[in-house]
């Protein structure tokens, strides 16, 4: 973990690292903060050596950050998250009257280095808009984005980021090798390294024998692989992949999944968007659920499955899922107001799919 601009860090002198310190961290955790009791590697002078670091769940926002930092001494340092997004909003104008349509609204999150962070939501939920705003391909109306400690508008930071868009399309008259050479030049990969890197990636992604063919002869799955290859060409620290499994057959999906897990083991940070729950469950550490442009929930996948959810069967055999007692209570109250009969309530273990469905069914955002 590196120190710098980004994640807030509470600073506790060594001699204060006792039960009361631990209990303070536990208190933060219960309020939705993810705490990691790692040593912070830092060159910053501290009063008493190694310190605790904590990585906040970003939806808590600045107010809570300030609260957490209160009483820490020295007040707080900030570590470099791979990505920090704060209050990102974007609307688009459409139609003759140029009516504004909400793309995303108030999206905030941060991704510590080395984590796999997934954006989950159905089509039109705002996943691609969020990614486009992060990469400054779309200029946000409001909000801040920091990539690897630098503002997202800084062109230089993009050499450290790999990006795969949804449904990638490339120059169809170039060969695979020419295309990857082109991207490698844009990334400033040295002449000597270029061929080696292209060879390695094409072998790993299984399109080595297609390198000499023009892209218009590539299948959809093959184009997806070359899209992933161009994202990995510059050996990026942060990978942003918009629907990386799209267009791949089961074998291809497994290969890409294994590749991404390998990247994770190498310490790369991965942001991926998908509406396919099993893909996320197998790869992600943290998932953020988007609905109608708003981020309605962020959860660590490790925390899922520990609790229980409830399946509610209403009259007409309509089924709903409530992921906790609070939601169950809300649903029951609503059913009563709507004069619906609850036929059955069943407990079940909470998986990501249940969580996603429950968020989808709920009218009010839960944060």
């Amino acid at each position: 973990m590196h120190l710098g601009y980004g994640t807030r860090v509470a600073w506790f002198p060594l001699n204060h690292r006792n039960n009361s310190t631990i209990s303070r961290f536990q208190a933060f955790k219960s309020r939705g903060w993810v705490l990691s009791f790692q040593k912070v590697v830092t060159n910053e002078p501290g009063p008493a050596g190694p310190d605790f670091a904590l990585s906040p769940v970003p939806t808590t926002g600045l107010k809570q950050t300030a609260e957490v930092c209160l009483g820490s001494s020295p007040p707080c340092l900030e570590t470099v998250d791979a990505l920090r997004v704060l209050d990102l909003s974007k609307s688009f104008r459409s139609g003759f009257l140029r009516k504004p349509i909400r793309g995303i609204d108030g999206v905030s999150f941060s991704v510590p280095r080395g984590r796999v962070f997934a954006l989950l939501g159905h089509n039109g939920a705002g996943k691609t808009t969020t990614i486009n705003c992060i990469l400054d391909l779309v200029h946000p109306d409001r909000g801040q984005v920091n990539i690897l400690g630098m503002p997202h508008g800084d062109c230089a930071v993009r050499s450290r980021v790999g990006y795969l868009p949804e449904r990638p399309y490339f120059f169809e008259h170039l060969t695979g090798r020419e295309l990857l050479n082109f991207y490698a030049k844009l990334l400033g990969v040295q002449d000597g390294d270029r061929n080696r890197r292209i060879g390695e990636l094409s072998a790993k992604l299984g399109f080595e024998s297609y390198l000499g063919r023009r892209l218009k002869k590539y299948s959809k799955g093959m184009l997806q692989r070359i899209g992933i290859a161009q994202a990995l060409l510059g050996d990026p620290e942060l990978l942003i992949l918009d629907e990386p499994m799209s267009g791949l057959d089961p074998m291809g999906r497994r290969e890409i999944r294994e590749l991404l897990l390998e990247m994770k083991e190498q310490g790369k940070t991965i942001i991926l968007s998908s509406h396919i729950v099993p893909d996320i469950e197998q790869m992600a550490d943290t998932v953020a659920i988007l609905r109608e442009g708003r981020m309605v929930m962020i959860r660590d996948l490790a925390d899922l499955g520990a609790g229980a959810s409830f399946e509610i069967t209403l009259d007409g055999n309509e089924r709903m899922v409530a992921e906790d007692v609070e939601v169950l209570s809300e649903t029951l109250v609503r059913s009563r107001h709507e004069n619906r009969t609850v036929n059955r309530i069943q407990t079940r273990s909470t998986g990501l799919e249940d969580l996603y469905l429950s968020v989808h069914y709920r009218k009010e955002a839960v944060r």
Partner: protein
């Protein structure tokens, strides 16, 4: 920066070349042959002039077609299909991207004009008493004119649809060749408003007649080096202005995947 621009220019050049754009050179060859075989016998004593006239006009028109129809869809196609997203997610500035695309198409144009120029020189060499190295000056000015039109196409394609970009660019080409006449017409009217409007058109639209020395070359009139250098400064000045405006619009553009 230069590395990015040259990479973008080369990829654009390869794309356009492999998109069978050079078939148009065949059309030019056919035009030259037909002007020799069909038109020349009809013009007793002026066969050479007809060939030169048709050849130089053919080069300009084919070049114009390439610039307008390839250029107008070039940026838009990449915007619509999302190719641009993977490029601009790399350390590439938006202005660099535009300049790279512009130079790539200009390289295609230069290559086409060079091939057509060689065919032209070869044909005039075969026709007795027609060949002149002054033709190269006409090629050069045609290239400058089309470079300016290419910049206009890039400018329009950053803000409007390919069809509108093509129509507007063609409009610049046509009005640009008439701007002197429009100004003279305004002055003849004597009316203050009409004269001012004609002046506005004259100064807002590049005067493309500066680059038209085809008539002079056909008739063997001299094209001075002074004219060539002034036309170069004028053409590059307009090109730079249009590219700066295009860059300014494009840097604020939303790129939706």
């Amino acid at each position: 920066m230069m590395g990015n621009i040259s990479a973008l220019a080369m990829s654009t050049f390869l794309e356009t070349v492999r998109d069978r754009i050079f078939y148009l050179v065949g059309v030019f060859g056919f035009l030259m042959l037909s002007s020799t075989a069909i038109l020349s016998p009809l013009t007793i004593g002026a066969q050479g002039k007809i060939m030169v006239d048709v050849g130089l006009a053919g080069m300009a028109i084919i070049g114009l077609l390439v610039v307008i129809f390839v250029g107008s869809g070039m940026v838009r196609k990449e915007l619509d299909k999302g190719t641009i997203l993977t490029i601009l997610a790399k350390p590439v500035g938006r202005r660099e991207y535009l300049v790279g695309k512009f130079l790539g198409l200009n390289l295609t144009l230069l290559t086409m004009l060079a091939i057509m120029g060689m065919i032209f020189l070869f044909m005039t060499f075969l026709a007795p008493g027609t060949f002149s190295l002054h033709f190269v000056k006409a090629f050069y000015l045609t290239f400058l004119e089309l470079t300016l039109i290419n910049a206009a196409v890039v400018f329009f394609s950053t803000s409007v649809s390919p069809i509108l970009a093509a129509v507007f660019s063609l409009g610049v080409f046509l009005v640009g060749h008439m701007s002197e006449s429009i100004r003279d017409f305004g002055q003849m009217q004597g009316d203050g408003f009409q004269q001012k409007m004609a002046d506005v058109v004259y100064y807002m639209i590049p005067n493309l007649e500066v680059f038209n020395v085809r008539g002079a070359v056909v008739h063997g009139d001299p094209v001075t080096w002074q004219h060539l250098s002034m036309a170069t400064v004028y053409g590059l000045g307009w090109t730079l202005l249009l590219l700066l405006l295009a860059g300014s619009i494009f840097s604020r553009k939303e790129l939706r995947g």
